[in-house]
Structure formats: structure tokens, C-alpha cells
Amino acid sequence: MKNLLILGAGTAGTMMANHLVKKLPTQDWKITIVDQYKTHYHQPGFLFLPFDIYTTKQVKKNGKKFIPKRVDYIQEKIDLIEPEQNQVKLENGELIAYDILIIATGTKIAPEEIEGMKGPKWQDNIFDFYTYEGAKALRNKLREWDGGKLVVHITEMPIKCPVAPLEFAFLADSFFKNKGMRDKVDITYVTPLSGAFTKPKATEALHHLLEEKSIKEVTDFNIERVDYENNKIIDYADVEVPYDLLVTVPTNMGDQLIERSGMGDDLNFVPTDKATLQTKAHENIFAIGDATNLPASKAGSVAHFEAEILTDNILRYIEGKPLKEEFDGHANCFVETGNGKALLIDFNYTQEPVEGTFPFPGVGPLKLLKESRSNHMGKMAFRWVYWNMLIKGIHIPFVSATMSEKGKKLEQVN
């Protein structure tokens, strides 16, 4: 009997358990998944929680529901990966030996990386919305806030879902308009990037939307510290941005387990082959989703596409065949733009988000890089797709793991 061990039962780990249970013969392989938490969060929902668009119940469920029965699900904290011994040590001292290991431990916010961020004003007038607790605390704040300077801020790249802070700014604009107090709120978007997004073509479209919604942009802002006594953020070039309410995306880092095991880069992300998803240091260890150092977006859609390719590659690895160098960095994201509209972007390592139609060339119904009501409906339908298809490893019709070039006005990224 051989052992396949998955670390992390988030979006990527749960998908892998569901894929592999169908592919690995029961008599030969035991599949185990370890995660310290009981709850599986629908993380894309954290964006909507602060605005009372989603309820807390809609974004969390018991994780066990999504793990197939044949898979051994251990709820325990992981202490260490010992790759030389092919084993993982749990906090309770138990050792789990593996033949193949999949790291899916994701990314976490690290507000303590910036001086003054996680100080006495954390969750008073400084908030994150990348955690369940943060999003919920911010919701309570927004219910009562009477206006002032709202600063939406990104600390440093890479972050999970790089469009989320923009969406937050757009949704805030709608939220305050609907409350009849938009004139009392001044919204500023502060980013370390040179523009609204990481890809030039999409940046143009998004910049236009920011302008239209009277959201100010401060770019190339590398934060040094939060001066929580005087309510301002200060960057290394001594630029200051004052706030009354700071909504920040703190530094994103891989799990501390990766650091403890000596397997990560500066930010605790695992160096991974960007086409095969095999880790660079160990051939029987693979990594997926936010835990990797891939130059792709850290997003559920990316993990979803990766999962299909990683499943193939694990089977190939078991059979001793060469791995497929197939992953192209494909990401597909709805960008909520407020007022019941959204735009859709589809891109990969080399192709920028472009205009066109999706998923059917020339037909749509979804339009790429253009605001529309049906894109918004797509985004809202996604919560159902997430709980009922995506993490269960059910193939989403018409959407392929690698990016399709049909029906798009393509331009190569240099």
C-alpha cells in the first residue's frame, strides 16, 4: 500500500483529494489530507461580506463535507515536513509517511511585517478583508461608519487575488452611493504597482473605471510604516497618505510550516516548476495553488486549472512517465465593478487580458474586459459553482485548463 499525502484542505487541497480519489486504485493507494481547521471558507466571498452582500453563513461550511469518504481526513496542526525521510510530523507528534506529497497550504496575511499595522488600531480603523475575522469586523465598522477618508491599500506583491482590492474600492463606491453618503466619503486606492493592475491592457480599462467612480489613485507607493497615532501611511520616499479608515491588504506569505521545514523562498512560497507543478527540490513533492512561487495569480481559478494538470502529472509520475509541461498560468477572474456589473478577464503567463468573448468565440455570452450585467451574474453564480462543482473536482463545462485563444483580440506580453 502506498501513501499519497495532501497538506491543506483549502480550495486546492480539497480539489486534489476529489480528483485523485477517482484516479488512484483503492487497493494500491491510501490518500490522506491534513488540515488544522474544521471550517472550509469560500474565500472569494470575503469581498462581499463587508458590504452585507453575503452573510457569514454563505461563506463557510464544514470542510468534512467536501472530502471524499475514502480519503483519511486528519484535523491536526502540521509541525514539520521532513523530505529526506519522506514523512510529515504533526503537532501531536504523530508521523505520517508518504510516497507522494502535495503541498497545498496556501497563503496567509502577515500584517506584522509592517510597523504599526497590527498595532492598537488593528480592527479599530485599520482592517483587512482577506480573513473571515477581518471581513466580518470590517462589515460591523462599515455599518456604522459616518464617512471620511477611505484608503484601500496594497502592501506588497504578490497577493492573493490581485483584483480584489480594486473590486473592494468599486464596491465601496456603490455601497456609499446606495447609502446616500457617497459625498461624505473620499476613496483613494494606494498601490505599490505603477498602475491599477499588473497587466497593462487591463490597467487601462481599470484606470478608466476608477476615474469614472471618482476614486483617486496613488501608485508606486511602497509602504514603510503605518503611523496609527496620526492616521496616515508613509512610504519609503516619505509620501504620506492620510486616512480615517484604512482597508489594507497586508503582505501575503506562505504558511510558517514551509519556513520551519526550510522549503520556501523569502515569502515562504515553495519553489515549483511553473509548467509541471513539481517542486524544484524534491521529485516526489508537488505544490499547488497559493503555496507555490509560480508567477501566476494566486486565485481559485488558477488552482482549479492547476488541479487538472497536476492530477495528470501525478499519474504520470506514478507510471514513471515524463511529466507534462502543460500549465500556462491560466487565470480567469470576474472583476466586480459595482452597481450590479462586472468585467471578466482571462489571461496566462504570456497573454495579457484582452477584449473578446467567453467562453464561446464570437458569441459569449460573457464579454472580456468590458463591464456588463451578465458578467456580474456570472460572478454571483460562481458561489454555487464553487461549493457544488469546483472544490468537488467536477469539470466546469467549456472552460479549459489551458487558455483558449479563440474569440479574443490577442496581444503578446513581452
Binding site: E156, M157, P158, P162, P192, L193, S194, T198, D220, N222, E224, Y236, A237, D266, L267, P295, A296, S297, K298, N414
Partner: protein
């Protein structure tokens, strides 16, 4: 496109970054620095060398990386290369503008 730097025709991209690192030398470097209003000091050269080393070993450049470089702290980095230190310093070092990617 071609640009005349130090009386030589140098291949650069539309933002003025060198396309071929082989064309980089100290003279070119000082001319680009001058265009960026930077006067090269010993510390500048040290940083340029560090950036080129990182580029050669294909390690991505970031402000965080600078913090851990042991060569310079971020505050000094901003003082040496005002107005977007990573963008300015990489241009001077003759390597591509870092993609803060994703």
C-alpha cells in the same frame, strides 16, 4: 529601437531599458545614470553589481529582496535612486525593469 548613448548606438526598449546586456559597460551606465539625475558613487556601483548578480541568477527583484540584500537598506536605496528606486536602478544596471508581476 536604437538610442545614442555615449556616442554609441544602443538597442533599448520604448522605456529606455537596454535590450542586450552585452552592450552595457561603465560608460553607458554613467550616461544612463546622468539622464536619471543620478551621480554614481561607490555605493551606487555596489548596488548595480548586486542587481546584475541577481538578474544573472534569475532571481526576481523586489523591495523586500533589497531589505535582505545586506548591501543597502531601503531608505538608502530611495536616497540613491530617487523616484522609483527599482525602476531607476535597473535601468542604470542595464537589466530589464522588474515585473512586480501577477
Amino acid at each position: 529601437m536604437k538610442k545614442l548613448i555615449a556616442n554609441r548606438e544602443i538597442e533599448v526598449n520604448e522605456e529606455g531599458y537596454l535590450v542586450d546586456f552585452q552592450q552595457w559597460d561603465k560608460e553607458i551606465c554613467e550616461c544612463i545614470a546622468d539622464e536619471c539625475n543620478v551621480v554614481m558613487s561607490e555605493k551606487h556601483w555596489e548596488v548595480v553589481e548586486y542587481l546584475q548578480d541577481k538578474h544573472k541568477s534569475e532571481e526576481p527583484l523586489s523591495i523586500r529582496g533589497i531589505k535582505r540584500s545586506g548591501v543597502i537598506n531601503i531608505k538608502e536605496f530611495y536616497n540613491l535612486f530617487p523616484g522609483g528606486p527599482l525602476k531607476v536602478s535597473t535601468k542604470i544596471a542595464g537589466i530589464p525593469k522588474p515585473k512586480s508581476c501577477i
